[in-house]
Each structure stands twice: as C-alpha cells, then as structure tokens.
C-alpha cells in the first residue's frame, strides 16, 4: 500500500488523527464491539520500547540494530465514565483478578493523517494497523475528585496493515492486498 498524507503541505497532524480502537466482547454479549480509547485522556503515546544492540567496528563506526519492539500505550488519566463498555469489561476482570482474561484483544491504530495514497479522504480510506492477541493491564484505581482507572494496552506486534473505510465504530478493516 502506498502511503500519502491526509494533510496539506506544512500542516501538522492533530492528535485526534491518531486513533486507538479496541475490539472486544462486552459483558453479557456474544459478539464483539469496537470502542475508541482515550476518552478524557490528555496525553497518550504508543511507546515502542525498542531493544537496540550497538556494535562498533575497528574503524570506530557504530552499527545499531533494533532487534525488537514491545509497543504499549498507556491511558492515564482514564476516568470511569458511564457508558464505556470497555471500562465495564475491564472492571469485571479487575474485580475477579481474572488475569488470564486480559488478553486476546484486537487493537486498531488508525493513522487518519495517512491515506492509502490512491484515494482522496472523501473516499474514507484511512491507514490502519491491526494488532491481534493484544493484552491490557489495569494499572490502578482511585484518584482525587473522580475515580480514575488508568490502563495500558500491550500490543502483540501481530500486525496486519490496511485501511478502514470510516471513522465510526462500525468501520470495516481491509487488509493490504500486496502483502
């Protein structure tokens, strides 16, 4: 897939154009749903945590190899907000200490500032990375004025690149065909 910017020359990509969506099975349901992550979170980044091995040859030249990445994204604060099915799901695991049920999530990273290069944004083809078998950890619960339950998504790196057709929870992910 050829990438192109969904931006004018010189235009900065707004933070809202980097979108993380989790797909999971809500409590009491047998089908999955998708939910946007980051409600009322002011700052959050995908941290790649690379392992870098650097060697130096006899000429003094450095060679650095990135041997692996372990991407994760924390959402803090993440206040408990009525209506969030994902927070309900996560609270269920927390209450039961059901650690083995914190995996198997599909997480999409939609880079809405990128398109597939062959269509205009009016066609709605936004670049996306789909990670399957991701895990989530709840980091704490509490806070001061409102109940805050920050959590961290641990990406699996089982990635399929592709596009999504729209920026709503019922989007369809289409995998790149030439990979």
């Amino acid at each position: 897939m050829a990438l192109a910017y969904n931006l004018q020359t010189g235009q900065r990509a707004e933070r809202k154009t980097l979108i993380t969506v989790v797909e999971f099975t809500p409590l009491g349901s047998s089908s999955t749903t998708k939910e946007l992550l980051g409600t009322r979170t002011e700052d959050s980044s995908v941290e790649y945590n690379p392992d870098i091995e650097t060697t130096t040859d006899i000429l003094g030249n450095n060679y650095s190899d990135m041997t692996k990445t372990q991407p994760e994204q924390s959402f803090d604060p993440s206040p408990i907000v009525g209506g969030s099915q994902f927070q309900l799901w996560l609270n269920d695991k927390r209450r039961r200490n059901a650690l083995s049920e914190l995996s198997g999530l599909t997480v999409y990273i939609i880079t809405a500032f990128l398109t597939d290069g062959t269509a205009t944004t009016s066609d709605g083809k936004y670049a996306c990375e789909k990670h399957t078998d991701c895990s989530v950890t709840y980091d704490s619960i509490g806070g001061d004025t409102n109940v805050n339950m920050p959590f961290t998504i641990h990406f699996s790196n089982k990635i399929k690149t592709g596009t999504v057709d729209k920026l709503t929870a019922d989007f369809t992910f289409t995998e790149d065909s030439n990979i």
Binding site: E14, R15, K16, T17, L18, I19, V21, L36, G38, T39, R40, T41, E42, D43, S44, I110, A112, L167, T168, A169
Partner: protein, 160 residues
Amino acid sequence: MDSSKNQKMIDYLLTCDDIASGSLFFNYAEESESAYSFLTVADDKDLQKPYIDGSVMKRYTFQFICYKPLSNNPLVNEAGFMDENMQNLDEVQHILDWVEEQESIRNYPDFGNDILPERIYCMTDDPNLFAIDTESDPALAKYSVIIRFEYLDRTKMLFN
C-alpha cells in the same frame, strides 16, 4: 460562542421558580425590585482542556445579578425579628441553592447532542453584595453570583 447556548441557558434558568417570578434581563440592568440580570462573561480559550480524541472540556460562565430592596432600619435584638435585608439575602441564596440542587440531580441545560454536561456550580457559596444604590426608591442592594457550566464539547471529534 453560539448564541443559542445563551438562549438555552436562559431557558434553563427560567425553570427556577424564584427567577421566573421576577424579571430577567439579558446583558441589561433594570435596577428595580425583583429584577435579575444575566450578564455574559468571556472565558479564556487557554483554559479549555483538549483530549486526545478531539473532544474539549469547555466552560460557560455568566454573572447573575439580583436586585433586592434595602431597609435602613437598625438591627434589634428581639425574639422572632429578622432583619429585612437578611430576608432578602436569603431569597437570593435560594437561587444559589437551586443551582446546587440541579447539580446534585444532574439536571443541566441542553446544549445539544454533541455536548456532554460535566457540572454546573456557583463560584461562591453565598451571594456577593455587588453594590448599594441609595438613590433609587426603594434603595436597592445588588447581589452578584458567578455561575459556571462545564461541558465536554464533542463537535470536533473525528471518530464517533
């Protein structure tokens, strides 16, 4: 600021019996007994809090002025006697209490589908005596309270 928000806030305030029973003016001061003035206040945009999903926590602030008659009778230590000025202050306090009650039952003005109410509150627990006008007949006390409505604006979100 979308002017319809002002109208919606006024509609909301007029559900308060104490306000509806008086005369409410918008950005105008009618200095008369039981008159109220709704004065718009501009909030600094730098105080808005943007979130990563494109929503923004905003605030809508206004000043509410209440005009009450003033008595020049001195206070006396007499059982059952309540100073008239204190009674009038209590009437203004009713309005502040009404705002707090609306917050406790989560009854907010309706700013539209993309606006999620956060909270409404008075900036002080008591009315502020703004000014005294002894030239008018009757003499009037002007009480003031700043009221703030915080809400989450979702109109600029990309993913919905």
